[in-house]
C-alpha cells in the first residue's frame, strides 16, 4: 500500500531530477561558452521568448495539434482496419504488406510534394501525411500482436465454434492490445512531428510554419520556443496514451 503510493512519486522525482540536470547543463553550456542564439540559445532566454510570444504559439500549437490528432485518429483507424482485414482474410497479407512496406519505406516527407499537389496547402494535406505515417506503424504493431497469439488458444476458440470474427474479437485483439498500444504510444510523437514537418514545407499556420518563418527571420529564440511548445504538446499526447495503456492493460 505504502509502496504503491511511494514508488510513482519517486519516479516523478527522478524524472524531475533528470530534467533539471539536462536544463542545467544546457543553460550552463549556453551561458558559460557565451553561445550566440543562432548556435544555441539559453533555456532561460527561450522561456522568456516563449512567454512573450505565447499568444502566437498557443494558436499555432492548437492548429498543429488539430492536424496531428485528426491524422492520428485516421491513421489508427486505417492501421487497425488493415491489420484486422489481414487477420480475417489471410490472403490479403501478401497483397497489402509489400505495398504498405513499399509505400512506407519512402519517407512520408518524400510524398509531401505530391500530397501538397493533391490535397493543397491547407489542413487536409497535413492530416493525410500524419495518417500515412501513423497507419503503417499501427499496422505493423497490430499485426505483430495479432500474430503472436497461441495457436492452441485459437484451436480452443475454434472448437467452441468461434468463427474468424469470434477468434479475433475474444482472443486475438486482447493478445494484440499490448503491442498495439505500444505502437500507438510511439505514434503520438510521430504524428506531431509529421504535422510540423509538413507545415514547414507549406502551410497557412501551425508550429512548423512558425518555425520556418522564424528560421528565415533568424529568430532562433522563437524557433526554440516553438520546439518547446511542440515538445510539450507531444509529451502531453504521449502521456495521455500511456495513461490509457496502463488503464487498459491491467493484466500485464
Amino acid at each position: 500500500m505504502s509502496r504503491a503510493l511511494a514508488s510513482p512519486s519517486l519516479a516523478v522525482q527522478r524524472g524531475i531530477l533528470g530534467a533539471v540536470l539536462l536544463i542545467a547543463c544546457w543553460e550552463g553550456l549556453a551561458r558559460g561558452l557565451h553561445l550566440p542564439a543562432y548556435v544555441l540559445p539559453a533555456v532561460s532566454d527561450i522561456l522568456v521568448g516563449l512567454w512573450s510570444k505565447r499568444a502566437i504559439l498557443i494558436d499555432a500549437a492548437g492548429y498543429t495539434l488539430l492536424e496531428a490528432l485528426v491524422g492520428y485518429g485516421l491513421g489508427c483507424l486505417i492501421g487497425i482496419g488493415l491489420a484486422v482485414a489481414i487477420a480475417l482474410v489471410p490472403a490479403l497479407r501478401s497483397a497489402i504488406m509489400p505495398l504498405a512496406t513499399a509505400i512506407n519505406s519512402v519517407p512520408v516527407v518524400g510524398y509531401s510534394p505530391l500530397i501538397l499537389l493533391w490535397f493543397g496547402i491547407g489542413v487536409s494535406s497535413k492530416i493525410v501525411m500524419v495518417a500515412m505515417a501513423v497507419s503503417f506503424t499501427i499496422l505493423l504493431s497490430m499485426l505483430a500482436g495479432l500474430d503472436r497469439v497461441d495457436r492452441r488458444a485459437v484451436d480452443l476458440m475454434k472448437s467452441f465454434g468461434a468463427g474468424r470474427f469470434g477468434v479475433l474479437w475474444r482472443l486475438r485483439l486482447p493478445t494484440a492490445l499490448p503491442l498495439l498500444l505500444a505502437g500507438m504510444r510511439v505514434s503520438t510523437v510521430r504524428s506531431v512531428i509529421v504535422a510540423i514537418v509538413t507545415e514547414m514545407l507549406g502551410a497557412h499556420g501551425g508550429l512548423g510554419w512558425v518555425i520556418y518563418q522564424a528560421v528565415l527571420q533568424i529568430d532562433f529564440v522563437q524557433v526554440w520556443s516553438a520546439i518547446f511548445v511542440a515538445s510539450a504538446a507531444s509529451l502531453a499526447f504521449f502521456g495521455l496514451i500511456g495513461f490509457l495503456e496502463r488503464k487498459i492493460l491491467f493484466w500485464t
Binding site: A11, S105, P113, V197, A233, F238, T252
Partner: protein
C-alpha cells in the same frame, strides 16, 4: 546417436530443403508477376483515364528518365544506403542497449526515459541545421539523424519485450543460480526478440527517413538530394523517380530485416 531416428530426421530435413527451393523460386516468380501487374495497371490507368502527368506520369516515362541519368540514381542509392545502414546499426544497437539498461536500472529509466521521449518530440528538420553546423555535410551527420529516428522505438519495444517475460521462467532460471547476465542472454532477450524485431522493422523504414531527410541539409549526393531537387524544380517525373528508388531501397532493406527475423524468431511463427 546415429540410430534410425536420427536418419529419419535428417531425411526429413533433406525433404524440407528440397521443398523450400522451388518454394522460394515460386515466391520470387509471384513477386515479379505482382510487380508486372502493378506496372501494367499503372501504365494502363494513366493512359486510359488520361491522368495529367502533373498528377501521375506514366511509369514508362519515369523509368526512361531514370535510365537517362543512371549514375545519379545509382550513386544516390548507394550513398543513402550507406547512411541508412550506419544509422540503423547504431540506432538498433543503442536502442537495445538502452532498453536493457532501463529494464535493469529503474532509477536511470525514470531519470532518462522521459528525456528520450522529449528528444523524440523535436522535429528533425528543426535541428537538422544544427547537425550540419556541428558535423558538416558528412556521412556521419546523416547517420546521426538516422540514428536519432531509429533508437527510440527499439528502446521502447526492447523494454516492453523484456517486461513480458514470464516471472515463473525467471524464477526457474534463478533457481538454477543464473546470474543477471545469464538471465538476460538466455531468457529475457530471447523472449523480447519478437518484440525487438517489430521495432527493428519499423527502424528499417525510419533510418531511411533519417538518411533522406538528413540529405535535405545541403548535401550533394543521395536519394534525398534527388527528391529535394525534383520537388523544387517541380519535376514530377523526377519526384517519382526518386520515390521509386527510395521505395526499392526501403522495401529491400525491410525485406532483409524481415528475413533475418524469420530465421531468428522461428518459434513465434504462427499459422
Amino acid at each position: 546417436m546415429s540410430g534410425p531416428a536420427a536418419t529419419s530426421l535428417s531425411e526429413a530435413a533433406a525433404a524440407t530443403r528440397s521443398i523450400t527451393m522451388p518454394d522460394s523460386l515460386r515466391k520470387l516468380v509471384r513477386l515479379l508477376l505482382g510487380l508486372a501487374i502493378a506496372a501494367v495497371i499503372w501504365e494502363g490507368a494513366v493512359m486510359l483515364f488520361g491522368i495529367r502527368p502533373y498528377y501521375l506520369p506514366r511509369l514508362s516515362t519515369i523509368l526512361l528518365a531514370m535510365a537517362a541519368t543512371p549514375r545519379a540514381y545509382v550513386d544516390g542509392f548507394l550513398r543513402t544506403l550507406a547512411e541508412t545502414l550506419i544509422g540503423f546499426a547504431s540506432g538498433g544497437a543503442f536502442g537495445v542497449l538502452m532498453g536493457i539498461v532501463f529494464f535493469r536500472v529503474r532509477a536511470l529509466r525514470e531519470m532518462i526515459f522521459p528525456i528520450f521521449v522529449v528528444s523524440q518530440t523535436i522535429p528533425v528538420i528543426a535541428f537538422g541545421a544544427l547537425v550540419v553546423l556541428w558535423f558538416g555535410n558528412t556521412l556521419l551527420a546523416k547517420a546521426i539523424i538516422a540514428f536519432y529516428l531509429t533508437f527510440f522505438p527499439v528502446t521502447v519495444n526492447t523494454l516492453l519485450g523484456l517486461e513480458t517475460v514470464d516471472p515463473k521462467q525467471v524464477a526457474l532460471m534463478r533457481s538454477f543460480g543464473a546470474s543477471n547476465r545469464q538471465l538476460l542472454l538466455r531468457l529475457q532477450l530471447p523472449t523480447a526478440l519478437p518484440q525487438i524485431f517489430v521495432a527493428l522493422r519499423l527502424a528499417a523504414s525510419l533510418s531511411l527517413v533519417g538518411a533522406i531527410v538528413g540529405e535535405w541539409f545541403g548535401d550533394t549526393t543521395g536519394l534525398g538530394v534527388l527528391l529535394l531537387q525534383a520537388m523544387f524544380t517541380e519535376n514530377v517525373v523526377a519526384i517519382w523517380g526518386a520515390l521509386l528508388a527510395a521505395a526499392l531501397l526501403g522495401t529491400g532493406f525491410y525485406a532483409v530485416v524481415a528475413a533475418v527475423e524469420q530465421r531468428l524468431v522461428f518459434w513465434s511463427a504462427e499459422q
